[in-house]
């Protein structure tokens, strides 16, 4: 729910482990295509998953009611 897919939908390659690096490098203004090349994501199925993922868990987490367990 609202997080990166663990694997590529089409081929099954593990992608989630590369997500944080991809996200931070793209946020720093790097060209996503170059970052994907650097991370070894070659096929267009995997590249689509990385480019089109929108994480919305952070938006949901904002509405968590703070409840500390006793």
């Amino acid at each position: 729910m609202g997080m990166v897919p663990i694997r590529c939908f089409s081929c099954g390659k593990l992608l989630a482990d590369k997500w944080n690096l991809f996200k931070s490098r793209v946020a720093n203004g790097e060209d996503p295509a170059k970052v994907l090349d650097d991370l070894g994501i070659k096929r267009y199925c995997c590249r689509t998953v990385m480019l089109s993922t929108v994480e919305f868990i952070d938006d949901v987490i904002k509405y968590a009611i703070y409840r500390r367990r006793e």
Partner: protein
């Protein structure tokens, strides 16, 4: 039969196989995808999950995490005689997860999945896979049972991701007819051909997809492209659960077992 290793990395293997029929190579490929066993989380007992990730989504995410597989010390649950609903030490591995976000947001990574001391070898291939994200005060506590399975049951048990074979091109250039115009070089989108001293030569033959664009672009019919007979290129990439050579070996073992089963069944047929 002759085998040539083109490219070998930690998680992929590319081979050229000479003098072996396509059908046999395809059988090996299909067995690698669907019948070579590997480990994946199959049952999840959730003790507490107060996160925003639903139980079933969490279980699905856990299932897709590739695990380092120890094929020699585990058996498939259907081959085990323990009869336990959750299996025994021979047919399943336990992984434990207990993470609580205290005062700040906490991401649960695959490194938080702790292997049970009874089976330290079975663990996620990569420690950096995000599984869930917890708001302060939220907690996930669960027990995950990993089992051996095959791709036929569920894609999470596939030890390979991409796995394909293709023809190898054999490109003939008739030097008497080629005038070195370079049209075939420009039209080739895989950059297989190059002009060397005014004559077209194949420089990157493994990249050729036999699209025949070069043949149709040549006004003098100086180039011919044909698949090589009984030579094939086989490439596969693993999820990291097993080394590529091991997957190939296991596939061959399974193929051999199938063939000998076939022969033994044939023995019962009257000639």
């Amino acid at each position: 039969m002759n085998l040539e290793v083109v490219e070998k990395t930690e998680d992929s293997l590319a081979l050229i196989i000479h003098s072996l029929p396509l059908g046999l190579i395809n059988a090996i490929r299909r067995i690698m995808i669907a019948e070579v066993p590997s480990m994946a989380i199959d049952d999840v007992l959730i003790v507490e999950n107060s996160s925003f990730i639903y139980d079933e989504v969490l279980a699905h995410r856990l299932g897709l995490i590739p695990l380092i597989t120890d094929l020699d010390s585990f058996v498939k649950p259907e081959d085990c005689d323990c009869g336990e609903p959750l299996g025994c030490g021979r047919c399943r591995a336990v992984l434990l997860l207990d993470v609580e976000a205290k005062d700040s947001i906490r991401v649960v990574y695959s490194s938080d999945l702790k292997p049970d001391p009874s089976n330290p070898t079975v663990r996620p291939v990569n420690p950096d896979i995000p599984i869930a994200k917890l708001a302060p005060g939220q907690r996930i506590k669960l027990e995950a049972y990993a089992r051996l399975g095959v791709g036929l049951q569920h894609a999470k048990w596939q030890p390979v991701t991409v796995c394909y074979h293709r023809y190898i091109a054999s490109i003939t250039i008739h030097r008497d007819r080629c005038d070195g115009c370079g049209r075939c070089v420009d039209v080739c989108y895989r950059k297989v051909l190059a002009l060397i001293n005014g004559i077209v030569s194949p420089v990157n033959i493994l990249e050729c997809t036999l699209c025949n664009d070069c043949v149709t672009s040549c006004p003098r019919a100086a180039i011919e492209v044909r698949p090589e007979k009984d030579s094939f290129y086989l490439k596969f990439e693993t999820t990291g659960s097993l080394p590529p050579q091991r997957i190939f070996e296991e596939a061959l073992k399974i193929l051999r077992a199938k063939a000998s089963e076939f022969v033994s069944k044939l023995g019962g047929v009257e000639r």
